[in-house]
Symmetry: C2
Subunit: 462 residues, 2 copies
Amino acid sequence: MEKAIQLLKDYVSHASVSNNPDAAEGMAGARDFIANRLESIGFSIEIMDTPRHPVVVGRYGYDKPGSEHWPHVVLYGHYDVQPPEPHELWTHPAFDADVRDNRIYGRGAADNKGPVIVYTCALENLFNQYPDMPLKIIYLLEGEEEIGSPNFSLVLERLKDELSEADFVLLSDTGGPDDQQLVITTQLRGLADLEVKVIGPSTDLHSGLYGGAVYNPLQALTEICSSLHNPDGTINVPGFYDDVVPAADWEREELGIRPMTEEELKHFTGAPELFSVPGFSPVEAIRFQPTLEFNGIGGGYQGPGPKTIIPSEAFVKITCRLVPDMDPFKIQELVKDAIESRVPASVKVEVTLGETGYPYLVVPPARPNTPEDQSSHLAKAFQLVDRAVEAHFGKRPLYLREGGSIPIIADIKQATGKDTILLGLYTPDDRAHAPDESFHLGIMEKAIPAMEDIFKGLAGIA
Amino acid sequence: MEKAIQLLKDYVSHASVSNNPDAAEGMAGARDFIANRLESIGFSIEIMDTPRHPVVVGRYGYDKPGSEHWPHVVLYGHYDVQPPEPHELWTHPAFDADVRDNRIYGRGAADNKGPVIVYTCALENLFNQYPDMPLKIIYLLEGEEEIGSPNFSLVLERLKDELSEADFVLLSDTGGPDDQQLVITTQLRGLADLEVKVIGPSTDLHSGLYGGAVYNPLQALTEICSSLHNPDGTINVPGFYDDVVPAADWEREELGIRPMTEEELKHFTGAPELFSVPGFSPVEAIRFQPTLEFNGIGGGYQGPGPKTIIPSEAFVKITCRLVPDMDPFKIQELVKDAIESRVPASVKVEVTLGETGYPYLVVPPARPNTPEDQSSHLAKAFQLVDRAVEAHFGKRPLYLREGGSIPIIADIKQATGKDTILLGLYTPDDRAHAPDESFHLGIMEKAIPAMEDIFKGLAGIA
C-alpha cells in the first residue's frame, strides 16, 4: 500500500488537464509517468499520436510462444483529468496529493488515476510472482476522456483487428454507493444532442413600436419546448419510446438491495421535490428511462433590469439520454421532425443535429435475460469479478444499469464486437470533477488483491 | 434657417450621453448650451439638481404684470442623447453634425435636440416681434430621458403647484410616417415589468446521473411561459383585458388615412410573417391592444456545443405594454398570480415586480369620444396646432394612438392633472437611437413658422 500511495501521489502531481492548452507539460508528464510505470512492470509501450493528446498503448505477453491461444484482455484508463478550478475551494493544492481521513486527495486521485494505479500494482505483484503468466493484455490509456474522447474512434479504427481478437474489455471508471458495496455497471445511457434556433424579426425590435404585430421568438420557443413533454413528464415525440428495452424484474430487484432512498436523491440534487414518469420511481427512472432535457436556453436581453425588446432570435440546447436499444440518429430525426411540425408560420426554426452516442447494455451471466454464452471468456470474467469482489469486500457486486454515458464503450462494441466489464471503484464521496476530489484508501487496499485474483483467474492460475 | 442649423450643429457637438459616466463634460456642455440659449432669448434660468443629471428650467413671462391671467404652457424637451456606439457605422462622426441630402446628421440631431432648436427659434422670432407677448412659459429640459427619467418624479413633485396652474403641456418627442404627414400622438402605452426565476436543484446537475428524477427548471419555465398566451395570441391571464378601453371608430378610420401597410410593417420588422390577435390588424394591434412580451430568457449552458446538465435555475424577463385604462400595478399582480398558480411542485418560482408606467390617452376636441371642454386652453391649443400644421405642411395632422411609452406623460397627468399635446416632428428615416441619426431640414423649416403660429395663437395675437 505504501508504494501504491506513493505512485498515486506522483501520478497526481502531473497536472494533466486535457482541455487546457497551457497544461501541455502536465499532460506529457502524466503520459510519461504511466508509460514508464507500465514499461517498468513488463509492458512494451507504444505512444500513439492523435490530432490532440496521444494514447499510451501498453502490451503484455504478446511476444511469448503460444500466446495466440491465451486469454486476451483489453484494459482501459485515461491519464487526463478535469480542470481543478476553482482552486480556492481545495483544502490542499489540487496537484499536491494529500493523505488524510483514509483518503488521498487531489485532482484525478479517483478519476481515473487511482484505479489505474490499482490495476498496475495488481499486475506488478502477479508478474513478479508468475513471470510466465499466460495472459495477453493490451492497456489503452487515453488523454482525451475528460473532453469527450474526440479521437478515440481513430484509435479504435487503427487497433480494430487486434482488439477484435481480444476476449473482452475491463475497466474501472464508474462507481457505487459507498466503500462497502461495489457495483458493476451493466448499462450506459446513450446521447442525442440537438440545438434549436427560432428566428423572428431581422433585428431586436422596440416592443412599443412593434409589439402586437409580430410573433415573439421567445414565445414560439417556449411553446415548442413545452410541447415536447406530456403533463405526466413523458416525452411527447412520436416514436420516441419505440425501441426502449424494458428493465427485467431482476434489475429492479437489484436496485432494491442497496437502495438509494428518495431522501438521499433529494439531498444530492437539492431539488424541492423529486419527479419521475409514471411507473418508475425516481431512482428507477434515471436508469430505465430515456430523457429529453433542456440544457440551456437563451435569447433577448440577459442583463439587469428590463429592456423592452422583441428579440430577434432565441435558442435552446437539448440532449436526450437514451436507453437500449434507442438509436441516437433516429432519435435526433424524430425530435427534429416533432419540433419542425410545431413551429408557427410567423417564425422560422433551425434544428442542428449535434453529438450522438449509442446506449450500451451488457447482461452478466446467470441472469434471466442474459444472452451470454456461459462458457465464454466474458462469462468467466464476470464470475471471477463477482467472486473476487465478494472475497475482498465481503459482498458480491450489484449489477446495475446506470444513467450516465461513456460513449466509447458502445463504440468499442460496435467497432470490435467486444463487451466491457465496468467494475466501479468510485463512491459519491470521491467528489470526482469537483474540488477536494479524493480516492478511498480502503477501496484501494481491497481492490489490489481483488484485481490480482481476477487476473490470476483469467490466466487460469489456481 | 441658417441660424437654426448652426445652433443645432453647436448643440449636437456636446456629447450628452446620459448613461455614460465618462460623458460628464458633454452633459454639462449641452446643459450650458441650452440654458444659455434660453436665457439669450429672454428666459430666466434655474438649474435644478437631481441625484444624477440636473434639469434646466426656463421661465418666461412670469414677472410681467398681469401674467397670472395669461395662458400658461409647459414645454418639455431633453438634452441627453443615446450612446453613439457603434461609431464605425456612422458615415460622419456622431458629434460633428453634418448637413447633406436635406438632413442634418448627428447623434441627437432629431432626438431631441432638433425639435428643441425649432421651439427656441420660433420663440426667439416671436419675442423679438412681440416683446410683450402675453404668454407664460415654463420650459423643462431633462437630462435623463434616455435612461428612463429616473428622477423626473422628483422634479414633478417640486414643481407640482406651479405646473398645476398651467394649462397644458406641449412637446415634440414623437414621430409620424414621413415628412409630409405630421402626427399628434393621442396614446402612449403603459408598461408593467416582471422578472421570473424558476429554481430547481441546488446546483447544475449531471443529466446522466440525475436525469429522470428531477423536474428540469427550463422545462418548467417554458411550460409557464407557454401558458401565458392562448393559441390565438391573446393573453391567458385572468382579468388582463378587464380595463381595456376599446378604440373608437374614428380612431380606426384615422389609421386608414395614411395607412402603414402590412408590407411596410413586414419590411420594417423583417419578420417572416406578421401576427396579431383576432379582430385587429397588425397595425391596429400595436396601438389598440396590450401585449405580454418575453424580452429575454436564460438558463443553463449558453456556450458552443452541448453540455449535459440539468440547470439549477432559469429566468425570463417579461414586459407588458398596456393600453388605457389598464393599471400597471394591477397587471403585475395578475400576471404574478397566474404564474404562481401554474408552477409544478417540483420547482420553486420567484416573481420580481419591476418598473411600471401608466398608459396615457388624450382625446382631441371635436371627436365623438372627446371628454374635453371645447373652450378650454387645451382644446384651443389642439385647434391651433391643427390649423398651423395644415397651413405649413399642407395637411392636417393625424390623431393616432401609438404603441410606444413615454411614462412621464402619464406621470405629469397624475401629478398635475395636465394633458399633453405630442406633436411629432420625427420620421422613421431619422433613425433615432441608431447610427446616422438625422433630422429632416424640410420639417425644421416648416415647423419653425408653424410653432410661431401656435404660440401666437395661444397668446391671442391675431
